[in-house]
Symmetry: C2
Subunit: 245 residues, 2 copies
Amino acid sequence: MKVSDNLEVAKNANLQLNYYQKEDQVLLAVDCIIFGFDKKDLKILLIKRNFEPEKGKWSLIGGFLKKNENLDQAAVRVLKTLTGLSDIYMEQLYTYSKVDRDPGQRTISVCYYALIDVDAHNFDGIQIDSASWIELKNAPELIFDHDEMVQKAIARLRRKAMTNPIGFELLPEKFTMRQLQNLYESILDKKLDKRNFINKINSLDVLVKLDEKDMTVSRKGAYLYIFDKEKYEKKVEEDGFNFKI
Amino acid sequence: MKVSDNLEVAKNANLQLNYYQKEDQVLLAVDCIIFGFDKKDLKILLIKRNFEPEKGKWSLIGGFLKKNENLDQAAVRVLKTLTGLSDIYMEQLYTYSKVDRDPGQRTISVCYYALIDVDAHNFDGIQIDSASWIELKNAPELIFDHDEMVQKAIARLRRKAMTNPIGFELLPEKFTMRQLQNLYESILDKKLDKRNFINKINSLDVLVKLDEKDMTVSRKGAYLYIFDKEKYEKKVEEDGFNFKI
DNA sequence: ATTTATAGTGTTTAAAAGACACTTATAAAG
DNA sequence: CTTTATAAGTGTCTTTTAAACACTATAAAT
């Protein structure tokens, strides 16, 4: 008895239970672009694959959707399993489906991106030795269509960071104006005018300036700020406020 | 011999061929939100399901991904099969995956939206009697998570139409300024100032004003315009031009 | 010739974005 | 203690873009 016959038997028996007959099933992968910001540079977390196919090459982290979870949960699980991190900003990006995108097996990949404050989370939790933070600019070639995914994630991050307060997810809770500006300069990949940037940010009126200073950055030190999420949400709700940089 | 046993045998035999062992497979559906613009109103194409589950209820059109095609191709095929239309603007929107979203069977749905000029395409091609163009504002409740999909599609269309020349996909090749304004008013669901709108559009400098007039709209008649796609693309390439309404 | 319905047309004001340079606070060095 | 070095902090003017606003023009129908 051949494998295919056996599958047919199983399928046919199973189908009595289902409405959608004879449709093809596929493997659903979840791949994650993990962005981190480290003082001056935007980085992504990559791994050197220690399994086939494409063993030894650089890749995004990923996993497979399980029957009893939705995609958001799968993305959270993948991130948690491989980095130990939880309670992280994640967002679905796009679904990739080229027929031969994965030479191992027909696989569709739903891509997510995550934003992490590299400093605040100690990375003892990283479950894989082969994972490294790599500057976006120096990123190596990745397997499959992962480069395409990263490009789309950067475009999304760029757009989204200009219209939503997600940049703060990449910063420590307390940050200086210069850090915030550095972050936006990294995301947009261009220099911004310091005075215009600060005026802009202040006009949004969603930061709280602390008395505390960060003395590591200069002789003079720089005041620390925090993002006032409650205030932001209240403004959105009450005045239809639009975060816009 | 139970079905599950049989499946296990088949699976195990099969796995020698595959890299990714013991991962769950799922059904991948493709659902389409089809937008049409009919003189004054933004509409979507809906069907009354004549099959289980949820037979008799309103739904988006959809189908299932096949082994030998990617998602874009599946979306094109679904649209073609059910409406006879091809060469239509389509774009992937989002992937929906709630565990119990489809009571029939565990199904993940990748959602697309399409933009159609209702007038230009004669709908003799429509393959299903049960399909109807329904004004967005009067749309009935849809099955599963289809309402959520439509909401997201509207949001996407709104954003995208403000920053890309996709609105023209919803209009006849030749259109009046008023039609274009009506379209944007429908998409944004708010009134726009006629003079400001025309000034804005003219400043973009991507329309060609024809000598021809549409005499059906008023005694005076209204000049017809066409979108100059070549000019637009040249501007984008050469000057980094940004379509922005 | 008059009516009627919609097309077509500019200017002024307000708001937002962009360009631009000097002073200040503090720690470290001497 | 004085000097020095370093990045922080701060405002104004100009340009561009968005928004408010109302009358005239055209052609068909009567």
